[in-house]
Every structure is written in C-alpha cells, then in structure tokens.
C-alpha cells in the first residue's frame, strides 16, 4: 500500500551538484542580513546630531559696535565664534608673512571676504584639542604673534589666526558666512 519510493528531501543533490538546503541557508542568511544591517545602522545613526541640533546651524551677528582692535565672541553650533576688527597694523603684520612658510599655508585674503579684510571671523576653537583660545576679550593674553593664544597646550596664533607655534595642526577654522550689510553677517 504505502509507497516504497523515498520522498525527495532538502539534502538531495540537484543535477547542478548543490543541495536544496544550501539554497535555504544562503537565502536565510541573506534575508537576515538584509534585516540586521539597516537596524544596526539606525542604532549607529541615532548618535549623529539630531534635527534640532542641526536646526540651530546659523546665527546673525551685528558688527556695528565693534571698534578697530576689538573682538566679540558669539556662540554658533555650541562653539564660540570670534569676530575681530583688525587694525591696519595687524593687517600689515598678517600680510608681511610668507604664507608658504606656514604650517597651514593661507594668506589673510584666503581667510577674509574681499573688501572686508578688516573682519577676521573664525571659530574660537583651538585646532589642537578644542579649547577656546584667549585673546578675544579685552586684556587677555594674545600669544607671541599678537593673535590668539590657547592656554591648554600652548598654541600661538597670529593676527590672521594662523597657527604659528605649538601643537595645533591647523589655523583657526573660518566658518561659512556672508555679509548681509557692511556691519552684519550671517554665520552658517
């Protein structure tokens, strides 16, 4: 009555020399992988800046009250921004230096906007390990080159906020900004 013929199983070889079970393994692993990867990525990506943090990405700065030789501090993306009104002497000092001889070769023109080279706007974040350099507020040490000085590990920046001495690898970063009027800028 009962058929003597064996049921085909997943372990039988196909004419191609593979087992059906091999296909099942590969398909299961591929399907699980396709599920795990996006879940893992979302677990990693949740640590990136959230929408509200990114939304605070631009600020307006009024420069009208900043006299020559003064600087103001503002906060942009939780980081300090320095806006310095350079004096003629500081501009001359910055231009005198051969940019090619610097650790991070940039001229003053590279670091300011055309026609507004008296406005030096940089992040107040030392490129070494992220401390806030001194020199923006009245009476603070401005280092050996008359710009900014980072007290944490002794980085000296010049009047164009370029790294001249100490461990920092780069000049103080110039954030993206535009002049909205001769005395106001939008940063970010």
């Amino acid at each position: 009555m009962a058929s003597e013929a064996r049921q085909a199983t997943a372990d039988d070889l196909t004419p191609g020399g593979e087992r059906r079970r091999d296909f099942l393994y590969v398909a299961t692993a591929a399907f699980a992988g396709a599920g795990v990867v996006p879940v893992a990525w979302s677990l990693v990506n949740q640590m990136n800046p959230s929408a509200d943090v990114l939304a605070l990405a631009s600020i307006d700065l009024d420069l009208s009250a900043v006299q020559e030789g003064q600087a103001i501090k503002a906060s942009w993306r939780g980081k300090p921004v320095f806006a310095r009104h350079l004096t003629a002497a500081e501009i001359a000092e910055a231009k005198k230096v051969d940019a090619a001889s610097l650790r991070d070769p940039q001229t003053l023109a590279d670091r300011t906007k055309p026609g507004n080279e008296q406005w030096l706007i940089t992040l107040g974040v030392c490129t070494h390990l992220g401390c806030v350099p001194l020199g923006a507020a009245e009476g603070e040490v401005r280092g050996d080159f008359g710009g900014y000085f980072c007290p944490c590990h002794g980085s000296h920046y010049d009047t164009a906020a370029r790294i001249r001495k100490g461990p920092a690898p780069k000049n103080l970063e110039v954030p993206p900004y535009q002049f909205k009027s001769p005395t106001s800028v939008t940063i970010g």
Binding site: V44, M47, N48, P49, S50, V53, K73, S75, R77, G78, K79, P80, R103, G124, H128, L129, G130, C131, V132, P133, C150, P151, C152, H153, G154, G166, P167, A168, P169
Partner: protein, 431 residues
C-alpha cells in the same frame, strides 16, 4: 579545573543535596572561593588587590545606582542636581563622596594589581589570557571613569569631554565625523550628556562580566605566586577558604579604613577644584587636567609637539597614548624569559623599579601645565616607556642570567623562614 588534591564538595544537609542536584551553586562557590580551591601558600599582601578591586567595583555600582536616583542628565540642571545630592538628599554627600573617592581608589588598587602582575610575571604563560582580560577591564574602566566625570557637568567635565572626544578628530579623513558622532552635535551638549549617562550606567556591568571571565581564566592554572614557580604538590598549597578568605578580609579592613579616611576627612583632595564651576562652553579653564589616574597617559598624549614622518603632532600623541596601553597586550610575547618572578631576575628587577619610577614621573608630568621642563621630561619618559617594552625587556629577557629557582614553593617558604627540613634551593631549569 583544579589540583587533584582539591577537596570535593559534599552537601551536608538534605536541602544542600536537593540544591546540588538542581542548581549546584554552592558547589560552584566551594570550588571557586572555598576549600575546593587550593591556592599557593606563599601569596603575599600584594595578592589582596584583585579582591580589593572587585570590592571597589561593587562599591561603585551600589553608590552609582543610588546616585542615579537623584541625578538629572540634562545640561540645564545636571550640575545643580549634583549639588542637590550634596546638600539636600539625605546622606547624599556621603554617597557622592564614596563614589568620587571610590573611583580614585578603584584605579589605585588596580594599578597596584597590575604592577604586582608585572613584578611576579603573572602575564607569562599559561596566564596570558588573564592578563589580556585584565587589560580589557582596565580600558573599560577608563572609558567608564571618563564618562562618569563628564556627568557632573562642571568646567573640567565639559572641557575634558571636549579634549577627549577631540582625540578622535586627529584621525585622518573620518576624524571630525567620528567626533560629531560621539558627541551627537558639534560640541559637548545635552545629547552628549545623555549618552554618557546611559553608557556610564551600562559599562560597570560589562566590566563585571569581563571580571567573571578574568577570574574564570585565573582558575584554570590557579594563582601565580611570588616565586613564580608552578605548584608541585599539595604541600605547596592551602585551601582558599579559610586561609585566603581570612587574609582578604584583613586586607579589606585596612582598605576600608584608608578609604573612609578619604571619604570623611579629605573627599576633594583627589579631585580638581575647577569642576565645582558649572560648565561654560565659551571659556576654557587655564589648565585642563584629567583626574590623577589618567595623568601618565595624558603626559604621553602631550609629549608630541612636532610633526614628523609626515604625521601631524596631534595624531602622534593620540596614537602614542592608545599604543601605550595596547602595547601591554603584547607583553607576554615581548618578555620571553622563562623565569616569571623578578625575585629571580636581578637585572629585570632593577628595570622593573626604573619603570615604576618612569610611570610615576609621567604621572607628575601629566598633572602639570604643558610648559618646560615638563614637556621635555614627558618626551624623554615617553621614549623610555616604549623602549622599556619594545627594546629593553625583549633583549634583557634573552640575555639575563637568572638566579637558581627553588625546587618548590614549600622549599622556598621553608628556606626563607628558616624552619628545619627545607633543603637548600636547588638549581632547576625553568618551567
């Protein structure tokens, strides 16, 4: 596994019998910490520090869980919630001081535990895995301590977070993205504080898990001992309980007395006063320093001041700092001497103490401002630190003429204490 002469667990009551057949937990403890674990009989006080480290972790977990009931991980109120714990929560000041001082003490006992392992060659075969798991615990401790320190959200918390996450920005190409990812923003902020709180709560339990592995691996060959030679017979061992349980309790008593002296009489002596100033993202403290237990590594980080081989100074510092610990994973293979204990290695013993002094001096440099002479001294000491492991130790372990090892632990003990019956030490090839 244990030695063949280990006592066997025999349940004494019907309940014990019932339990043993269903969940043999009493048997497990008997074999791990009880009379069923024969231990070399010559362990000195330095062998207390593993247990003390375990106790220190338990103190941190208990006080930490309690502190978390009162702490608020939000940048607006984190600092104030810590002061709330100090002033308003019943006994909160004591619990917080136990936690803060406890962190220092945890590192203190772990450093002694590590140096004990270095001196007696406890990292050598067959104990390499114990050593490496210990280093994993050490790395986890560093991460945990750093994140816990940030939670206070004082000036040193904030700027510590800035500097330490800034280390990752030294990596080429992806560095800045990694820093932003770690912080959850462009500078340490609420997202940073929240994730650090979450991880600071998690990691101690991970440490606990790795300690289980560390102790499991220890129980395979059993403890090393001050002679560094293997256990040969039952005469070389005593049962862990009551001998070492009693000894560990004595050590624990002394530890808790010293710990209490700090908690009650000088709770802030090990901390940085600047951290009692609330975090201010627009003003850097004049002198950023981590807690004392990170000073040697901070000194290595800051020792690199010029670019060379096309690699920026900043990246060198970061590489060197991580390498200074990762290097220790290779120690069992860098030190090839067949003799474990420095008691029988005259040259290596001197070098050990030189290394202790170098490590301590690196600590001093790390706590000072980045000025001369500390920068130059850090550079010399950092060079020696790496030379010790990569050049000096491998050469010395090949060339050194070691002293004759005693025939057995018993023989060494009897020779030392002059009791009759001990034969003079016999020269014997190393294990």
């Amino acid at each position: 596994m244990s030695f063949p002469w280990a006592k066997e667990y025999k349940p004494t009551s019907a309940v014990g019998q019932w339990m043993d057949e269903r969940l043999p937990l009493p048997r497990f403890i008997f074999n791990a910490l009880g009379p069923g674990y024969p231990t070399p009989k010559n362990l000195n006080a330095f062998y207390n520090f593993g247990v003390l480290a375990g106790v220190a972790l338990v103190i941190q977990i208990i006080t930490g869980v309690v502190l978390a009931m009162h702490y608020a991980p939000n940048v607006a109120i984190a600092f104030d919630s810590v002061e709330h714990i100090m002033r308003d929560v019943n006994g909160g000041w004591m619990i917080r001081y136990m936690h803060a001082v406890g962190a220092s003490f945890f590192f203190g006992v772990v450093y002694i535990h590590i140096f004990r392992g270095l001196y007696y060659g406890s990292y050598k075969p067959p104990r390499e895995m114990i050593w490496m798991l210990g280093l994993v615990i050490f790395l986890l401790m560093m991460a945990t301590a750093f994140m816990g320190y940030v939670l206070v959200w004082g000036q040193m918390s904030f700027w510590g977070a800035q500097v330490i996450t800034g280390l990752f920005s030294a990596l080429p190409v992806v560095g800045t993205s990694i820093q932003t990812w770690l912080l959850g923003g462009f500078s340490p902020d609420n997202a940073t504080l929240n994730r650090f709180f979450s991880l600071h709560y998690l990691l101690p339990f991970v440490i606990f898990g790795v300690i289980v592995l560390h102790v499991w691996a220890l129980h395979i060959p059993g403890s090393n001992n001050p002679t560094g030679i293997d256990v040969k017979s039952e005469a070389d061992t005593v049962p862990f309980h009551p001998y070492y349980t009693a000894k560990d309790f004595v050590g624990l008593g002394i530890y808790l007395i010293v710990f209490s002296a700090f908690v009650f009489f000088m709770p802030n002596s090990l901390g940085e006063p600047d951290n009692y100033i609330p975090a201010n993202p627009l003003s850097t403290p004049a002198h950023i320093v981590p807690e004392w237990y990170f000073w040697p590594f901070y000194a290595i980080l800051r020792a690199f001041t010029t670019d060379f081989l096309g690699v920026p100074a900043k990246l060198w510092g970061v590489i060197a700092m991580f390498a200074s610990i990762l290097l220790l994973f290779l120690l069992p293979w860098l030190d090839t001497s067949p003799v474990r204990s420095n008691n029988y290695r005259p040259l290596s013993r001197i070098l050990f103490w030189v290394f202790v002094v170098v490590a301590l001096l690196l600590g001093v440099c790390g706590g000072k401002p980045a000025e001369e002479p500390w920068v130059r001294l850090s550079q010399v000491l950092t060079a020696y630190y790496f030379a010790h492991f990569l050049i000096i130790l491998p050469i010395v372990s090949k060339l050194e003429k070691t002293k004759a090892l005693p025939g057995s632990i018993s023989e060494a003990v009897l020779a030392k204490y002059g009791k009759g019956g001990g034969a003079a030490p016999v020269a014997q090839p190393a294990e």
